[in-house]
Every structure is written in C-alpha cells, then in structure tokens.
C-alpha cells in the first residue's frame, strides 16, 4: 500500500483498521540466492539495493533480535560527508546524496533534515586541519566551506564563540549535512525489501556457516538450516563472532560509545554542531530534545553501558560551548557497541571464504553511511568483487599498511 496523506484520511474514516503490515511475517525458505545476516540499517540497505540495482530478489535478511535494534536505533543520527580521505568522502557523500531522496525512494518519511553540520575549530591545529579538509572536499565534489566565527554565531546563536578557554576560531560547514529519524531508516528499508518479495526473518540467530571446499553453502540458524549461493555478514558489533564461524579473524575491537538526550525544549538550535577539541557534539531533535554524543570507552565491552566519566567530560565541555544547557536536565543516557578497526575506517570486503562478504567496522560513523554502504556492499555481493566505492575498504589494507585514517585532519570523531 502506498503511503500518503490521502491514504491516512481514507484509513482514518475506517478507524485505522485497514493498515497492512509494513513488512510480512516471513518464514525461511530452504534456499536463497543471497542471505544477508543482520537486519540493521546496513544489512537492510544491502538487501534493498541487491534487489533494486542488481535484480537479486530471492533474498533473506536474518536478524537474531528485532530489526533495527542495534546501533541503527542507538545513535545521534548525524549525516555528513565532509571527510578528508578520498575513499571516505566518496562513500559518505554517496550516502548523503541517497539520503536526500530516500523518503521518496522508499515512500516512507525518514525525515532527512539537511539543516547543516558544523565542526568547530577551537585550536590553530584544528583550523589547519579543517582548511585542509575544505580543500580536499572541493576536489571530491563535496560541498563544504570554512566559515568565520561571526558566521558560526549567526548560524547557531546559542554558541559561546568567545569562550575563555577554546574560543571558536572558525568552523568547517556542510550546509547539506543534517539528521534523519534513525528507526525510520531501518523500517523504510525493511518495508522496501518486503515489497520486493524478500524475507525479513527476525528472532533468527545464525549459529554456524556451512561451506564445501572453501565455498559457502549456507547457514545454520535457530530456525534451522538455510542454503544460499552468497552470504553477506553485516552485523556490526557481532562481526567477530560471525567471522569466527567463517574461519577468519578481524582487526576489530568492540567498545561502548555513549550518548544522551535532554528533556525536550522549544526549538533553539537549528544546526548540528561538533566540537572535537572537547569531544562533544549536539543537535536538537524534532521532539525538542538536545541530542548529545561523546567519546568511546577505551576497553572492550559488550554491555551497552559505558563509563560515566565520558558523559561528564562531554557535558562539561558542551556547557562551556553552550552555556544555556546548564539548567537543562539529562533525560536518558545509553551506550551502543561500536566496532573499531585498526585505522577507525570501515571494512567492505571479500573474505577468505568464497562468496562470503563482510561489511563492518563502521566505528562511530555507521548511521550516516547506511545507504552508501548498502549500495556498495550490494554491488560487491552481486558482482563478486568490490566496485569503486568499496575498493579501498578491503581487509588486505591492514597487511599492506594502506590505511584510511580520518583522525589525521583534526582528530575528527564521527
């Protein structure tokens, strides 16, 4: 059923009894052309573009919990592509441009709001770093500019630009960056996959990967064995466990990354602000909550709880930058598990097992990458080899020392 205002009126007159399920209740078939493990944003997007771009529609997406239940639903929803290194800029910009039209593409309002993202430069070192990024972006077809403190104040009046400790010396500004409704992205893709006849199977945990002479045959799950020609592992924090099943290891450590929201207040901040010198970033949701993200823990952790001192560090830094938040109250804090690679950049790669592909290691930058990541991974799965977008993100780079290091600009967090 197509969603529209007209449809809502029609259904309203029937007491909303006529709405169909957004995605079907699927039971696994014995065999699929391709299986995607993980019904988070990246997994669902991978499946969606497999069908949309490559006509591969006999696909199952297996999810051990409920779809969109991982980091897709636990992040600060920032979307930007002002990265320094070419491979990052390429895939994040592809992603951002897909976000622009995703609501129309999926006929599901994911509320992409290109309200603009600014990264504050608060030391000379950051100024140099962001000027460099601005130059790189210009050559990468990514529209950014380095703006003055006056412009910063104009775009975000609640910022204290003349702070005693870290005055704002300028900012890297991406006007077409912004935010989106995180859950809606997963739900919209799931609905899109279902409409193409794909099976989204929740509460179905993969317990083994079956292969014959180095080639994948299928998976064993809590709901029985399922065969497949191709297998994509897109499970973020659980990648290590799945890789183990396929007999290889990853350059990954799983850490807790924390975020928090304040109680809702009337609109006072129309842009996304990232302040990396002081490790904090903030935006205001449509509900009015100030959404705040901070740094990741330094130790391995699967508890989805982080250490409070990071929250403390982030909040005090943001009060220094936004004095008005001091009397707001933190409503809720939570942790997400992020998988960090050796160079903090993602992995989109073939694996030692034939026809098994992996997409992981998005660290703190996963949400903004969902459409582009799905697009690139689908291409790799369909063609059996990575295309231009994914080419540089292979596992082999760690052996060769060919890193994609974004921290070099100015220690930019995602």
């Amino acid at each position: 059923m197509r969603y529209s205002a007209f449809q809502i009126v029609r259904q309203a007159l029937r007491g909303h009894q006529g709405w169909p399920r957004a995605w079907g209740e699927a039971t696994a078939k014995p065999r699929y052309d391709a299986i995607v493990i993980g019904a988070g944003g990246h997994g669902l997007a991978t499946a969606y573009y497999l069908g949309r771009n490559h006509g591969v529609r006999n696909v199952a997406i297996l999810e051990k919990g409920w779809l969109g239940g991982g980091n897709t639903g636990r992040n600060t929803t920032i979307i930007r592509s002002n990265y320094l290194q070419d491979p990052s800029a390429a895939i994040y910009e592809k992603s951002r441009s897909l976000y622009e039209t995703l609501s129309q593409e999926l006929n599901y309002n994911i509320m992409f709001s290109p309200r603009g993202v600014m990264m504050l430069a608060q030391t000379e070192h950051e100024v140099r770093g962001y000027r460099r990024t601005a130059h790189a972006n210009a050559l990468q077809e990514v529209q950014t500019e380095f703006i003055t403190p006056e412009r910063v104040k104009e775009l975000c009046p609640i910022i204290e630009t003349r702070g005693p400790r870290y005055p704002v010396l300028g900012a890297l500004w991406q006007a077409r960056g912004g935010t989106a409704r995180h859950d809606a992205v997963a739900w919209g893709y799931a609905r899109g996959c279902a409409e193409m006849g794909m099976d989204v199977i929740q509460q179905c945990e993969v317990t083994g990967i079956r292969s014959a002479n180095g080639k994948v045959k299928g998976v064993t799950t809590t709901k029985g064995e399922i065969d497949c020609d191709k297998l994509a592992i897109v499970v973020a924090g659980h990648s290590g466990v799945l890789a183990e099943m396929a007999g290889f290891r990853l350059p990954i450590e799983s850490l807790a990354l924390q975020a928090l929201v304040s109680e809702p207040i009337k609109p006072c901040m129309d842009v996304v602000v990232m302040a990396n010198t002081v490790h904090g970033y903030m935006s205001q949701s449509d509900k009015g909550e100030m959404v705040i993200g901070g740094g990741a823990d330094g130790y391995n952790n699967y508890t989805q709880r982080g250490s409070f001192h990071h929250i403390e560090e982030t909040v005090r830094a943001l009060i220094e930058t936004f004095p008005m938040i001091s009397r707001l109250k933190m409503l809720r804090m939570w942790g997400g598990i992020v998988d960090m690679t050796g160079d903090r950049s993602p992995i989109i790669s073939k694996t030692p097992m034939e026809n098994v592909f992996i997409n992981c290691g998005w660290g703190t930058g996963g949400f903004k990458a969902i459409p582009g990541s799905g697009w690139a991974t689908a291409e790799m799965v369909a063609k059996g080899a990575p295309g231009a977008l994914a080419a540089e993100f292979g596992l082999d780079r760690f052996r060769e020392g060919r890193f994609i290091d974004e921290s070099v600009a100015a220690g930019v967090a995602h």
């Binding site: 409920w66 919209g188 609109p267 508890t303 809720r332 804090m333």
Partner: protein, 997 residues
C-alpha cells in the same frame, strides 16, 4: 484562602504561609507544600498541555513520575524548564508558568491538532509529508518542531554553582521509607559504612498507610529510627537526594538538591554524589498504575494514592465529589481517607466481582461499592464532570451516570525496579500480583561477580508494611555480611501483616471496549499515546516492544514510561495474543529522574573548566601582553604584540629581530625525560630510528621516534649525560605521551632490561637564546665559557651563568646561533628577566611559537603535527639520515617494510615556492588532470606548512609531493576553495641558505 484546603496535612506548616505566582496569578501556599499541592489548594487543576494534541492536562500524581505538571520555573539566570510541580518544594516568591501552549493555557491554538486527532494516529508522520521533497525541511518540520518541545529554552548563563563529592561506602540504601530505614538500621548496627538517601524532603514514605511498628505508631518508629541512624558514626543520611543510577562495579550517582527549595540560600545549588558502594539496597517503592478507560486523560482524573497523599500530606482535597475506581484493595484506602475528611465518595467501582473483606469495611462506613463494575468513560469540559458506569467485562453499555469532579483510579502497582535494571538485573512477571519484580536469579553483578543490588519492600513487590520491614532488615544484614561485617543477632522491626484480596488486572476498561472507545484511552498522557495506537503499531508489524515504543513514542516522555510502560506492554501482549512476559520490557536507562546538566559538570566551569598549564615565566609573558596559543593544556605565547601592532606584524618583527639581533624563547614546555641504566643506550636504540648508543657523553643528537605501526610520533634532541644516562627532549605535546610509551615498552616487553625513566619536564625552566648576538648576550650575563671551542654545536655543558646554576645546550631549531639554558624552574622567571636586561643593548626581544614555526620552516626543519599527521614515515620526509642502517631493529622498522610503505609513489617532502611570491593557501592540494573512479579529482601532493617569510619577503611552503625530490623545478597547480588557482615550483626545502648555527 482556598476552597480546597481542608484540615490535616502532615507535611505542611500552616503557621508559615508562602506567596507564589502561576502564569502571573498570585497564589498562596504553606511551608512544606509542593508546587502541585499548592496549585491544587488554589483550585488550579489545569496545569499544562499535552505534547501532540495539546489536550488540557491536570495533575495526576504526587511524585517524580508526574507526566503532566511540568512548568517553566523561575526566570533569567535561575530559569528552569520542565520542572516537576509534584517534586518542586514551594518557596516564597516562586514563579511558575505552564508550558506548550499559545497564546494561553486556557486558549491554545495547538489544540487544533486535537480536532484532527483521528487523522494523526501513531506514526502518521512516517506516512506523509513525503512530497514535495523540500517541504519537509522548510514547511512540515518547522511546524512539528514548533508544536513539540514543552518548556522554553533558557536564555541566560546559569547563575548557580554545583559540586561533586566522591565517597566509598559498604552499603548504599536508596529510599527512606520504612523498608529502607530498616535496611539502613540493620547494616548500620552491624558496623557497615552506610549511606541512606531519600529523594523527598521527609522520611517514612507513604506513612499514613503504615500500621503500628513494634507496637508504636509508624510515625514514632520512623522518627526514632532516623534519630538512631543519625547517632551512628558509620551512617550518613541524606534527604532531598535522588539515587539517579547504578553503574558497573557499584558506582552510583545520587544528586542532592541543596538550594532548589531555597534559591537564595548559600553554597552550590546541587551536589552530585559519586558513590562507590559494596552493596546497594533499593528501597525505592512502587508506582501506581492508571486505568485505561475512555477520557482517562481529563484533568481531575488522578492516581488514587496521589489523591490520598494530597489529603493526608498537604490537607488538600483535589475533588469534592470523588469516584474511586479500582481493581485492588488499595483504592479503598483513598475512599476511606476521603470519607474520613468528610468528602463525598458517591461510588467505589471495583473490577473484582468479589472484593472480599475490604468492601465489607467500606459498606460499614456507609460507602457504596459496585463489584464487577468499571468506568465506561468520563466526560467534562476541561475537567471531569461526569462518570459513566459499565460492567467490567462488557463492551461499555452505560448502566449509570454520576456527577463528580474527581476520579481516583487504582490500577495496581509497579515496583520501581530501575536501580536493579540499570546495571543489568533481569525481571520476571508475577502473575498473582500482576507486576514485574526483580528476578533474584538474574541480579546485576558487581566486580566480584556476585549480586550487588537487592530490592526490598514495594520495590521487590512486597506491598505490605510487615514484608517491607522484613525484607528491608534482611537486606541490611545481607549487605553488611557481604561487605565483611558480622551482624549481631537480634530481631528486626515488626508489623502486623494485613490480608488483602488479590488484584484483578484490567488493562482496558471495560474489557470489551470497542475501537472507538480505545481511541479515547490514554496510556502516555504527555506524548498522547492511546490504547488504539499500540494496537495499530502491532497490526502494522511494529510488534517488538522496542518497535512499538519507538513507533508510538510510548514511554519516551519525560517520565520515561513510569506510568505508561506496563499498561502499554499489557495492551501489546493482548494484541499479540501472548502472555506479558513473552513480550518483555524495554530497557531501563539512567537517570531515574532527569539530572541537571550543571550538576554533571560540577566544579568544571569557567576557570576550573580545564587545567591551564603555566610555565615559570607565565606571569611575565602575561605582563608583556602575550597572545596565547593553547598547546594541549599548556598555554604558550603565540607572539608578543606591542601596542598598536597586529599579531601578524608582531610575528614578523620577532623573526627579523631574532635573525638580526637576538631573541628569547620560553622553551620550558618541551618534554624532558631522563633515561638511565646499563641498558639505557640499547633501549634508546630501539626507541629512536637513529643510533643513540654511539653518542658521546657531552654531545647531543637529533632523534626520531616511530610507532610500532611505522609512523612518526615525535622528535627531539637527545643529550648523553654520562655512560648510562641520557636526557631525551620531546615535543611540547609529547612529554607525557612519550614517557608513557617508554614505560610501556620497558614494563611490558623488555622488563629484564636495566633501565629507569623519569619525566622531569617540570623541574626545569628552559630558555632559548637565539640569534647572531646570542653569545654576546650570554657573555654579558657572565659565567661559563661558551666559545665555539668550549661548547661546539650539538653539545651541552653544566655550569654557572649570570649566577644561575644552569645546563646549557648548543642546539638550533632556527638555523641561527642558539643556546638553550635550563635552570631549576624556581629560577626561571629570574633568569628570563636577567636575559632581557643583559640583552637590552643588543636589542633582545622575546618571540613566540609562530616566529619559531616560521624560522624552522625557513630552514626546512619539519614540525611534528604539520609535516606529520599520523600517516607519514621518516622516509617520506627525507630524514633517512636520521635512520640508522646499522641497526637490525627499532620500533617501526618492520612496519616500514610493508608494501604500501615502500611504494615508490609515496608523497615525499619538498619545498614549494609560489611563482608570484604569494603565500600558498593552508592545506591546499596539488592536482592532476584526471579524475578517479569515484569522480574525484586526482591529487599528487599537498601543502604541509605555509608561511610568509619576512626574511625572504615572500611566501614559503613545505609539502609532500609524489616523486617530489626527483622533480625539482617542476610547477604544480594548487586550486583554492574559491575557484582560484595558485602555481608553485618544487624546490629544495631549505629556503634560508646561510648558516648561523
């Protein structure tokens, strides 16, 4: 003063009237009132508007679970949005305004949403506002944002201060009701270090319900117990302190409100307690559940226990004629309390067909009870006026209608298990009492792998006073024993158990209500989530509890679902045709109640936001009007502008003067690490790319350090003091990092090597005396022989100069004749002054970090952080001379052999000269003509540092360029961000040839 203030009121002091205003209207209350009780006393039932439909909202509860009564409190520097009226203690002069309406609380335009409510079901916004595309950002979203958001955004800097305090205790008891008091007493008597916190301003909790304890009135027992606890050395008790969260390893946060009830009082506003607790006893009570009947969100519909609290605690009657609707015995307590105050209770509706003894008791008091009945709905304009009675199991056919101005609803209790769940405790569903209770087999684990939290009393589902005392006492003993104490024998406090008839869960009232009615039953009052919304979510496949919550926003309001979660869960379970436990619960996250940001920051604001590291000469620089640059936590002078001089002009003046006469640099921030031992030389050979073991005592050598991953991490001059002692200089930012790096390798890899290291950075003040007249200045100071013979380039010597015991290094970072003089930090300022005096006739001037950077660039010296960015190896920088070929290993060597590191196409360091003499833009890239497969312009190099050289009167730059060193003379194109282009020629990276050093 008010029609609704009646007799009684345990918590108020009628001799102390207080004045306050609500929406500008003058009102009066008493000491001990909450804002909510005072508003009710003044007949103010309507206090706000809901989030989505802007429906009128009244006070529902008497505690922190309140979803409706949120106000804008105070003004200017003391303005707070979303303050809970039910937990805000009244004070004289309090100013409150209601939220989320325009133009006024009574006439709100946003209520239009309500007219169209049927067109705005759960998740409607996912299904519309899709076309045309730009409309979301520019039309739809602004409207949605404007109508959402509750309280006003503060406009001023916070006028209050906050503080933190860290304490370690054996036992933290949360909750000062009878159960918590019993726990604290048991643990305290056993000798454990106990901290007892109570969120409200008084002890004993819902005292009026409690029977006699140990043969005396509960109130007396509480007073005596609190006194006993206060007298115990090892026990601390705190009122107005909310236990916000439980984290790993017994780490807890509790916030103490010091002056919120007395804004003019001295000291901090709030104090954040960071508690390390061995064991935690959660005596946090339970929260009453609303009942879901049509119109249950009308002002005047309140929780039964809250109605009781206002009566007995504050002497306020929310209604004159109150209908009680219940599914358990507790509702009757409210009826009795009302009756006791001579207030009308036309009818008690009990969902249970056979209420048992309690109903008999009611009838004996002359109250009318209707078993097996419930509400078909309530109605009224802006507040409750009429209640319609129906059979509980029917579809809602109205049997009778009653006029009333208040509904007291008793839907059963939900234990406040938040503290149990924060750090991973699991719950199970108790069928008979219809509630989630802590599952003792799945507790949150402490560092020792054992249970660290125990819930007691109502928080454990034990609603009776007898059980509350029993479980509390037992938990106190448990916690004390677990933390190594030996409780003496002795019975705990006792009360008579009271028999109650079990609850009859009613999730939808009446049970057979049709969709029309279900669309009028509110689950989440603040976010406007109704029974029909949850059912719709389930129909559409959002059937996981997390999906439902996120799709409908159920439980995401500021009360975080304290009232709505369980009711919503039950409705979802029913819709899915599954038992409640199969549906599970959403995750409980800290904080228990919203926590002020300022309290989280504590003292770290303004001057104390972060440490500023000062060198011994800091004040002197300050007096000279230094323009500061933060380098890590250090502050270094960037330049010393004189009056009427721009920073830029100052930098150029400092450079010219240093090159022509002599300049002074405060080099104290450079790291200094002492490395000593028989294996020191061998150790440094592993740490640096170059050979340090061959360095002669008395000499200095420049060294590079790489990470094990091959990349350059630091550089500096190493001085060999004697056979087994070295002094390693690091960059300003590097001192602590590099010292940690050294210790890491010594302790975790080469622990059998005999080496000690010590970071002595701060013991010394170091001054660079730089320029052609440097030696003249030092000779003017007088002292040790500094002639070329006595102290050749790259050597050091101890001695005395100008009366200062000093160590002098003959090293240069500018190409000029240069000495670095190190003295005890305590003499730094004096030496700095002495140098200025001695050099006055020579034209000495201090210079800052920017002059330093330009001068090193003029000589083609690299700067860590400019030429390096974590992806650069020494080989890229033409520093092969600093990499020993003789050594078979050093940190980073293996990494530098990897495929990509030995790629001939790596970008290498060169100098860059613009054709027009201009300064190359910072961070610019040199382009190729082609584009890559992703449509990005190919690049072949980039600028790493670029300056105006006052010595050469032109722009100079260094950069990394593909095959650069082999392409001398070639011209590269650097596009700017503004479409312009700069052309620059590849040259040797040494711009200033003549040597001074």
């Amino acid at each position: 003063m008010s029609a609704r203030r009646i007799d009684g009121g345990r918590l108020i002091d009628r001799t102390k009237p207080l004045r306050f205003t609500f929406n500008g209207r003058k009102m009066e209350g008493f000491q001990g009132d909450t804002l909510a009780s005072a508003l009710l006393a003044n007949g103010q039932m309507l206090v706000g508007r809901s989030f989505k439909y802007h429906r009128p909202r009244g006070i529902v509860t008497a505690g922190p679970e309140e979803p409706n009564a949120l106000v804008n409190l105070g003004k200017d520097k003391r303005f707070e949005p979303n303050a809970r009226a039910t937990t805000t203690e009244l004070f004289d002069g309090l100013e409150a305004r209601s939220q989320n309406h325009w133009p006024s609380l009574e006439r709100d335009i946003g209520v239009l949403n309500d007219r169209f409510a049927r067109f705005l079901p759960a998740g409607f916004y996912y299904k519309t506002f899709i076309h045309p595309r730009p409309f979301w950002k520019h039309v739809f979203e602004p409207f949605i944002r404007q109508s959402a958001g509750l309280g006003q955004a503060p406009r001023h800097r916070d006028g209050d201060t906050y503080e933190h305090v860290n304490v370690t205790v054996d036992v933290l008891v949360s909750g000062g009701g009878i159960s918590g008091l019993a726990a604290a007493l048991a643990a305290g008597k056993a000798g454990a270090r106990v901290l007892l916190v109570e969120q409200s301003a008084h002890w004993g909790g819902r005292l009026d319900d409690a029977p006699d304890i140990d043969g005396q009135p509960a109130e007396t027992w509480v007073a005596e117990t609190v006194a006993a606890l206060t007298n115990l050395e090892n026990v601390t008790v705190k009122l107005r302190t909310t236990h916000s969260g439980v984290y790993d390893h017994g780490y807890c946060l509790a916030v103490e409100r010091l002056t919120d009830h007395d804004p003019l009082g001295p000291g901090p506003r709030q104090r954040l307690w960071k508690v390390r607790a061995g064991r935690i006893v959660a005596a946090t009570g339970a929260i009453e559940r609303p009942l879901s009947f049509a119109g249950n969100d009308l002002p005047g519909v309140m929780l039964a226990a809250a109605v009781r609290d206002y009566l007995t605690g504050y002497g306020v009657a929310p209604g004159r004629r109150t209908v009680v609707v219940t599914n358990n015995d507790d509702g009757y307590r409210t009826a009795f309390a009302l009756k006791d105050q001579g207030l009308e209770v036309p009818l008690i509706l009990d969902a249970r067909s056979d209420p048992g003894p309690v109903a008999e008791a009611a009838r004996e008091l002359g109250l009318k009870v209707a078993p097996g009945k419930g509400l078909a709905g309530v109605s009224g304009k802006g507040r409750v006026e009429k209640a319609a009675v129906a059979a509980i199991d029917g579809s809602g056919a109205v049997l009778d209608e009653l006029a009333c101005d208040c509904i007291a609803m008793a839907g059963g209790w939900s234990p406040a298990v938040h503290l149990w769940s924060h750090a991973g405790g699991k719950l199970h569903w108790d069928e008979t009492d219809a509630m989630f209770v802590p599952d003792p087999d799945k507790p949150p684990l402490g560092a020792d792998g054992k249970a660290m939290v125990r819930c007691v009393g109502a928080a454990a589902g034990e609603l009776g006073a007898a059980e509350a005392l029993e479980t509390g006492w037992a938990a106190g003993l448990w916690a004390a024993t677990e933390t190594g104490h030996k409780p003496k024998r002795g019975a705990g406090p006792k009360a008579e158990p009271d028999e109650e008839t079990p609850i009859a869960p009613v999730w939808v009232m009446p049970r057979g209500a049709d969709p029309e009615k279900r669309a009028k039953m509110w689950l989440d009052y603040q976010n406007d989530v109704k029974v029909s919304d949850v059912e719709l979510a389930q129909r559409e496949g959002y059937e996981s509890v997390e999906h439902t919550k996120r799709y409908t926003t159920l439980g995401m309001a500021t009360d975080q679902g304290k009232l709505s979660n369980i009711n919503g869960l039950a409705v979802l379970a029913d819709a899915r045709g599954e038992p409640i436990p199969a549906v599970g619960t959403t995750t409980f996250r800290p904080p228990y109640t919203p926590l002020t940001m300022g309290a989280i920051a504590g003292e770290a604001r303004g001057d104390l936001f972060q440490p500023i590291r000062r060198t011994p000469m800091h004040e002197h620089h300050e007096r000279m009007g230094a323009h500061w640059e933060p380098v890590g936590h250090w502050r270094r002078p960037y330049a010393f502008p004189r009056s009427g001089e721009s920073v830029e002009e100052a930098v150029n003046r400092e450079i010219v003067n240093t090159r022509q006469n002599v300049g002074l640099l405060d080099a104290s921030t450079l790291g200094k690490i002492l490395v000593k031992g028989p294996d020191a030389a061998r150790f440094l050979d592993m740490l640096y790319t170059g050979m340090m073991s061959s360095l002669k005592p008395g000499r200095c050598r420049y060294g590079l350090m790489c990470s094990e991953n091959g990349f350059l991490i630091d550089d500096g001059v190493v001085a060999r003091i004697d056979e087994d002692t070295f002094l390693c200089h690091t960059t300003t930012g590097g001192a602590d990092r590099i010292h940690a790096h050294m210790e890491e390798w010594l302790q975790t890899e080469w622990w059998d090597w005999q080496v000690h290291t010590l970071n002595i950075t701060e013991a010394w003040a170091q001054i660079g005396v730089v320029g052609p007249k440097a030696r003249d200045l030092l000779e003017a100071l007088g002292g040790m022989d500094l002639s070329e013979e006595a102290l050749p380039f790259m050597s050091w010597a101890d001695g005395e100069i100008g009366g200062f015991k000093a160590r002098i290094y003959r090293i240069s970072f500018s190409g000029e004749l240069s000495y670095e003089i190190a003295v005890d930090a305590g003499h730094g300022a004096a030496l700095w002054e002495a140098c200025l005096d001695a050099g006055e006739s020579l034209g000495v001037m201090p210079y800052g970090t920017e002059a330093l950077h330009v001068m090193r660039a003029e000589k083609g010296f690299i700067m860590i952080g400019d030429e390096t960015d974590g992806t650069v190896i020494p080989q890229d920088l033409g520093l092969s001379w600093a990499i020993s070929k003789k050594k078979d290993d050093y940190l980073g060597k293996r990494a530098q052999d990897r495929l990509f590191m030995t790629d001939p196409n790596r970008w290498k360091l060169v100098g860059l000269e613009t054709l027009d003499g201009s300064v190359l833009p910072e961070g610019a890239y040199a382009v190729d003509d082609s584009k890559n497969a992703n449509g990005q312009r190919e690049t072949q190099g980039r600028v790493t540092s670029t300056y105006y050289s006052p010595s050469l009167k032109r722009g100079i730059a260094m950069g990394l360029v593909r095959h650069g060193p082999d392409r001398m003379g070639e011209v590269l194109t650097f596009p700017g961000v503004d479409g312009t282009e700069t052309k620059a020629r590849i040259v040797e990276p040494v711009f200033l040839k003549e040597a001074g050093a």
